[in-house]
Symmetry: C2
Subunit: 494 residues, 2 copies
């Protein structure tokens, strides 16, 4: 962690002489940022009364407001409360080429808390782990994260509070709460230190800036931003382009073995299916309603070979759910807004509210399947995606969401039969194209990627269900049954 | 309004014989819709217990869930409550090529209300006007709006409620409220009739479907959707392409006269500016805080000639506002998500919450300026935009938002001077390009368009402020003063 600079008063004349060059440099930063392949996230956190809001205002005055947006996370809205805590931060992320300033950062909530009891301390640890993960994931994606901590000694804090109270224009900013915080200065400082330590990483370090002198503080923050930006532009201005891999090697062969062990010859007759279907649809309907009553949301993930019957399975499933409560999110090519963000951003967008259901038809697993195999991302990117995905799903389940993941498995022969059938059927022809045939030629490579996915993202709280899908009826009934079982178990568990 | 069909029971066999063809036709509709230049909005409204939810579920089972999304507007979230009522409907709109089903439609809230007192009745009238306007605006933009009213007689309603209560699987769906509604059948039917009449338009008519027989009802709704879609595809499948106008004629010369009367030689010395600036920044700070305390949001709109100093003016303005409370939305080329929606959608997106501020750097007025002159939209489109814009702003002000609109006016000579200065200054060069020079050559045409804009969108609740901007200091101080006056006046008025 950078050491606090010695407190020193900057004379007004010196300040006024320096500001024009700083402003010009900041504007130039924004011009250089626009075409850059990364976003800038500037966190202004600090001790009470250290002037976080003032610094944000000063920077906003110096920057071109058209390329920067400011966020402060005060009151949690009910739309936010009904989703995992990190959702509100994900939705605020700027696209590449733009800057966001976070007053208080995503750290403000934790720092405002006063954890004492073991349960609160455990919650703190968990939150800090999510925050560190969040920053790590954005930094790995190229984002420049500049985190400033405005440091104010207890004595300086007292002086500042008195100054604010004496000026009628600023007196409103000092509340009894502030004085209470002042009395608890040491305890709050220790908590802040803990938060900083837990989220201090090479790619997202904390910079301590002494806030005793307002002008020194302002200049220091701007200097810091400029220096970090210049360095970042050199290292991240032109990331290496991904290339399509020539060979695909398994990272964890256990998954492939599991996949190959799956018996694909399982069958269900029409009569048997009709007999059982309605019973399971009824059970699913009750399970989903029960989850909704308890404010639990449900996330279904459907992955599988082309033509494995994901669409049909989703249709059966949704026939048991009130149409007002679910959304199906088909994952096709990302929109340009989505492309300008971290690949998980587009999935965070659609995370359901309490009691609601989101069904992803293909999902974030595209990162370790098609993107891995087609070379749409670099090896380091898809390799770290397993951990990123596990964390994402863990956030969902910790929040209380029920995450159901299905891989619809098909034999190569059955896929061929279905492709031909689609080509021959007028209203199915739109469902098959050259890409499907191209993917089919890479069957073995896909098998390896699917196997790695199964092995590396199999978790107790979000298990993979492998469904033999050569027989559509069998697959559909399996999905209904497995869904009911998992939802019932999740509801019984808490 | 289409007449209700005679109630008739459809035998199960007949139904089962018809459904496969209906399903195929619906899937084909979705295939044909994908590349079409319009969205489909299907509203399923109706009398209590007429089976709105059931119909939505049936349709969702028949359609490919990947191309359709369902919305029901139950509980207003606080994020919705803090914005004009239509915001929640705007944010639900599907892009072109996709379909949305609205259970209850945007009409559900009004129909659930039971307006009695004069104030409530006035509110009802206003709401109905907004709903009709909303539908009209979407229809004019090409959307296919299919509105179904499921009709159930009082006797049939009683039978249905009893049936639901007797089946243990559906008993939960009947509440004491439902029986209360049943007793008030006639009054509720009159209100529904009123709502339908007020929102019945050639492009968005209500279709009455008898809901006494479930199977007849389901088939009738699907048939209706298919028929309307086929007809719509013929008329709206290929809208005429806009062409760049050869001549630009004023619609309302009063605006141009107002523009030309503006004295551009007004000046302010540096010393005078510095003397007054801080006073007005302080006043603005207080006015904005006062507005926030009262839950009023503020929308600033900045329009003006290229190089008129919009960015600098915004920077001065925002230096007086807590950076956590405002957002600057620079309007450049729309993203592809924005392009796939009505042109007002991208502005509705950023409407501020209670107590917050949005500053639009260029705005929806692009529709009647650059889009009109460059032929980015057809004459009928920009010509109706004046009314659409007036309604949009009226919704903001009725909700309590304060709307401040500024046109920064420049002489042609001063613009030339600034263009040259930008070209000569290293860190300003990015702000000038060939397009700016091209726009400049069309100065007279732009003057006409600006004049029309001023004349046709000048409203008491959202007036245009014309600011002479040849002298930057004068312009900036004017903007501060006028903003303070308008905010103070708006706060005094209620």
């Amino acid at each position: 962690m950078a050491k606090a600079t010695e407190p020193r008063r900057m004379p007004k004349r010196e300040y006024e002489a320096r500001v024009p060059a700083l402003r010009e440099a900041l504007i130039q930063l924004q011009v250089a940022l626009q075409p850059a392949p990364f976003a800038v996230l500037l966190v202004i956190a600090g001790d009470d009364a250290s002037g976080k809001g003032e610094v944000v205002n000063v920077l906003n005055g110096w920057l071109d407001p058209r390329g920067v947006e400011t966020f402060a996370f005060h009151d949690v809205t009910d739309e936010e409360r009904e989703r995992p805590p990190m959702w509100r931060y994900w939705r605020s992320l700027p696209p590449r080429g733009r800057m966001a300033i976070y007053a208080g950062g995503w750290h403000a909530d934790v720092i405002a808390s006063d954890p004492q009891r073991p349960r609160e301390l455990a919650h703190l640890r968990e939150t800090l782990r999510h925050l560190a993960h969040f920053e790590g994931l954005l930094a790995a994606d190229g984002a420049l994260i500049v985190k400033v901590w405005l440091r104010l000694s207890k004595a300086a804090q007292r002086t500042r509070l008195h100054e604010l109270e004496e000026n009628p224009d600023t007196a409103w900013r000092v509340s009894p709460e502030d004085w209470k915080h002042h009395r608890n200065y040491e305890r709050r400082a220790r908590l802040a230190e803990k938060v900083r330590r837990a989220t201090h990483r090479p790619a997202s370090p904390w910079h301590i800036v002494d806030a005793a002198d307002v002008r020194t503080r302002n200049v220091a923050v701007a200097d810091l931003l400029l220096a970090r930006f210049q360095a970042h532009l050199q290292t991240h201005g032109r990331p290496p382009a991904p290339v399509k891999p020539r060979r695909v090697t398994s990272l964890h062969p256990a998954g492939l073995r599991r996949l190959r062990r799956l018996r694909l010859d399982q069958h269900l007759s029409e009569a048997e299916y009709e007999l059982k279907r309605d019973k399971w649809l009824g059970r699913l309907n009750r399970a989903v309603r029960e989850a909704a009553d308890r404010g639990r949301s449900i996330v279904w993930v459907f992955e599988g070979w082309d033509a494995a019957g994901k669409g049909g399975a989703i249709r059966r499933l949704t026939s048991a759910i009130d149409a007002r409560d679910y959304r199906v999110i088909p994952i096709a090519k990302p929109t340009d807004e989505e492309k300008a963000h971290h690949y998980l951003w587009r999935f965070w967008r659609h995370v359901p509210r309490a009691g609601r259901v989101t069904i992803y038809d293909r999902s974030w697993y595209g990162r370790v399947l098609v993107e891995r195999l087609e070379g749409f991302c670099r090896p380091d990117e898809w390799q770290r995606a397993y951990a990123e995905i596990n964390d994402f799903e863990a956030q969902l389940t910790e929040h209380g969401s029920i995450v159901l993941k299905f891989w619809l498995h098909l034999s190569k022969a059955e896929q061929l039969r279905r492709f031909r059938h689609r080509e021959e059927t007028a209203y199915k022809r739109h469902k098959i194209n050259a890409e499907d045939w191209r993917n089919r030629r890479q069957w073995e490579a896909y098998e390896v990627a699917v196997g790695d996915m199964l092995a590396l993202t199999q978790r107790a709280h979000a298990p993979w269900h492998l469904v033999p899908a050569d027989n559509k009826r069998f697959a559909r009934l399996q999905i209904l049954k497995l869904s009911c079982h998992q939802i019932d178990a999740a509801l019984a568990a808490r």
